[in-house]
Symmetry: C2
Subunit: 114 residues, 2 copies
Amino acid sequence: MKISELAVRTGLSAHTIRYYERIGLMPPAPRDGATHRHYDERALNWIEFVGRLKTTGMPIRQMLRYAELRAAGPSSNAERKALLTEHRDAVRQHVEELIACLEVLDAKIAGYDD
Amino acid sequence: MKISELAVRTGLSAHTIRYYERIGLMPPAPRDGATHRHYDERALNWIEFVGRLKTTGMPIRQMLRYAELRAAGPSSNAERKALLTEHRDAVRQHVEELIACLEVLDAKIAGYDD
DNA sequence: TATTGACTTAGAGTGCGCTCGAAGTTGTAG
DNA sequence: CTACAACTTCGAGCGCACTCTAAGTCAATA
């Protein structure tokens, strides 16, 4: 697919997709006759996964590390797993924090009914 | 207390506390003889609450709106409650999203054991 | 074949939330 | 009384993650 289609399907702008490639967050896209980028489903899946990392608060620096490991092939599996595990644990902790904040918010909101 | 003590007790820097005052996120602190700021427990509580709003992803713009309502006194209670309720609902939704992402992460991590 | 719209690059600009530096003033400890 | 640490203001600078502009190239349609 063309970059415009990928943009629509991921909800990103074509600008942002090129930016991701430029910084190394996406592998260089193959070109139609050395000019226009074209993408397959794998690229779509990757962007969707990156989106989840982003939603869960992973900074781009760390995503770049993961992308680098991915590009290095299966030999990096152990390190990739470690990276994701560490991130998952951080996310779990953050969720706990948010739930605690929700209780404070609920109490504050209830307080306005006095 | 002095700004340095408030800084220690909130985990913010004195720079950041002054910045919060400058942008209107904190009411202007009373001064010791028109010079040094001094704070009471109420200021500490406010910063802690602002910290929870921050943790839960509220942008400063919206905090400013809340701070403004707070400064306006009890007549703004209804609007303050509405603002917090809206925010709480957004946080709840975000927590749901994070939990969904956690499932994806768990699956991905488990996949490395194949 | 001519036009139009989507693509390309390089680089500048934006908004957020601080964070720091400089230069000067004040309050306390010795 | 002196030294010095902590305070003050103002404004510049920073890191992040885009976001946009300009100027040019390419491809499909009328």
